[in-house]
């Protein structure tokens, strides 16, 4: 369980994190979203004590990070996979972390196996690692102490498709065993598939938070039909406002059941009917963070 309360971090001239509060609950994967420079990484750094907050607090299992007697056994952290001594071998990096936590050396081999780094690769120096390999090594470091909480900043970065699938399963499994996962990512599809809860941040402030269902429900329904105009008309008759997109899809804020019922009564055959979450998360993300986007996307 991660609790962030009224967290603020100011730098000379600007506020990177502005009164941020949220909770990442056990047994759930919490996705942490936001545009570049929104304050995601700063918030995560404050959580693990690398940056001091200007005000507010972040606690893990009710305890400030600095108060944890042996943090590696309680919280697995991966903030930047490239932040490793380039002259050390991958194996040695894990061995040093295991030694710090007081774990036996056998744990290192187990973790290398879990993240699919071969013994040969583990003997190479991190200087020669690809981003994906560094990411795997970082995940291995985070999992080493068998923690109950994971804090991961952009862990899918640089992973190949199989790696992304593997990580998704790993995190889902971790949460299903009662663990708490907080993960940030720019890959909205990734977050959409894996996250149970979402926290969206823009310009240092929380712009939305809640369960994925809650947040995406607002995105409504997408329906397709061989006669999209008739469908839109039928919906209008039923008092449901809708928009007819150029690609022939009909979008509405009503839920899919209502739309289906309307189509049935009107005798219109639907070819597709679903929550508009495919584009929903991206749309939601862009509209929520519209004021804070560099590109000034019109949402």
């Amino acid at each position: 369980m991660i609790t962030v309360e009224s967290l603020t971090r100011r730098y000379a001239g600007f506020t990177a994190v502005d009164n941020v509060s949220f909770t990442a609950r056990p047994g759930r994967v919490t996705g942490f979203l936001g545009p570049n420079g929104a304050g995601k990484s700063t918030t995560m750094r404050v959580m693990v004590g690398l940056t001091a907050p200007t005000s507010g607090s972040a606690t893990i299992n009710g305890e400030r990070f600095a108060g944890l007697p042996n943090p590696g056994l309680e919280v697995g952290v991966l903030l930047d996979a490239s932040a490793q001594h380039a002259g050390r071998t991958g194996r040695e990096i894990l061995a040093v972390a295991a030694a710090t936590m007081g774990l036996p050396g056998s744990r290192v081999d187990e973790m290398l196996e879990v993240v699919s780094l071969t013994p040969t690769e583990a003997k190479r120096r991190v200087r020669n690692y690809s981003l994906g390999m560094r990411q795997r090594l970082g995940i291995a470091t985070a999992l080493l102490g068998d923690p109950q909480v994971l804090i991961l900043d952009e862990p899918a970065n640089g992973l190949d498709p199989a790696g992304i699938r593997w990580m998704r399963d790993l995190l889902t499994e971790f949460a299903s065993r009662g663990g708490t996962v907080l993960l940030s990512s720019h890959l909205l599809h990734e977050i959409e598939v894996i996250a149970d809860d979402l926290v969206v941040i823009g310009n240092g402030r929380i712009v939305a938070s809640g369960t994925k269902e809650e947040l995406l429900a607002a995105a409504g329904t997408l329906a397709r039909s061989t006669a999209p105009r008739d469908l839109a008309h039928a919906l209008e008759q039923a008092g449901i406002p809708s928009t007819l997109a150029g690609d022939g899809s009909v979008r509405t804020e009503a839920d899919p059941a209502q739309v289906g019922a309307v189509a049935l009564t009107a005798g219109i055959a639907l070819t597709e009917l679903r929550s508009a979450e495919g584009a929903g998360l991206e749309d939601m993300f862009l509209s929520l963070t519209a004021d804070t986007q560099r590109e000034g996307v019109a949402a």
Binding site: A83, A86, G102
Partner: protein, 271 residues
């Protein structure tokens, strides 16, 4: 009548009980920091260079020194010389690599107390210093026995205990300067440049100042770190005043900057 209270059985995901976690002992931190000093490519070669250069330096005495100089002092000094340069570098990198190589992100999330990490690094640095100096004295002793036999002269053991201790102290002071620069600058290249400025450029400037400004002449031994350092390596710190001078330069160049550096290091952001 008895009523049994049946506790509700947890059906859904249960929150795992927090394990009792024991704090990380300081001895473990020292061991880890010692390991980190030598498990990188640069650390490994620095260690090898000590092991290789010391015997070479001692060997060169056998080849080049006149018979009258075939003494324990010559050998110990020669084998100790490479160390006086390499040890401060080891001390610098022990601290700065956490920032320059960014490994601090992991180190300080595994051990949030930065003071403890730096303390463990200081102890590890001290141990490496003592170990290396012991190697230098041993290489010197071996060189002396072999060298005097080859030259056909009597083996001269002319280093007294007080002198030996001062040579040890001199090496440790050099490491302390490197360590201090590391804590203060937190960047490998800056700290190494800083070390060369402090130990090679500054003495010249202070010497020049002393030669043109008479008032500085008396003051120089109290503020010139190299002055007291050379005295230590010569084993010439004997009087109470000389020890006071050493204390003064140590205060100026090590204690005060170290305290200031630690103050900022503990508050800085690790990125």
């Amino acid at each position: 009548m008895t009523a049994t209270i049946v506790p509700p059985t947890t059906t859904t995901k249960s929150v795992p009980v927090r394990r009792a976690v024991r704090p990380i002992p300081s001895t473990r931190l020292v061991k880890v920091e010692l390991r980190k000093m030598f498990n990188t490519r640069s650390g490994f070669w620095l260690l090898i260079s000590i092991g290789v250069l010391s015997p070479i330096a001692a060997g060169s005495v056998v080849i080049f020194a006149p018979d009258s100089d075939v003494t324990y002092e010559s050998f110990a000094r020669a084998s100790g010389f490479p160390m006086s340069v390499i040890l401060p570098m080891i001390a610098i990198l022990a601290v700065t690599s956490e920032w320059s190589q960014r490994s601090g992100l992991t180190t300080f999330t595994l051990v949030p107390s930065r003071g403890r990490v730096i303390g463990a690094k200081a102890v590890a640095t001290l141990l490496v210093g003592l170990g290396s100096v012991a190697v230098a004295f041993a290489a010197g002793a071996l060189g002396n026995v072999v060298g005097s036999a080859l030259a056909g002269v009597d083996t001269v053991w002319n280093i007294s205990m007080p002198m030996a201790l001062q040579m040890v102290l001199g090496n440790l002071a050099g490491m302390a300067i490197g360590f201090t620069l590391g804590v203060l600058l937190r960047a490998s290249s800056a700290a190494i440049v800083g070390y060369f400025v402090v130990s090679f450029v500054m003495p010249g400037i202070l010497l020049l100042l002393a030669s043109v400004r008479e008032w500085f002449l008396d003051l120089q031994p109290w503020v010139d770190w190299n002055y007291t350092q050379v005295e230590l390596f010569e084993g010439a710190t004997n009087t109470g005043e000389e020890w006071a001078m050493l204390a003064s330069t140590t205060m100026i160049w090590i204690v005060i900057p170290l305290v200031v550096g630690l103050f900022f290091l503990r508050r800085s952001e690790v990125k």
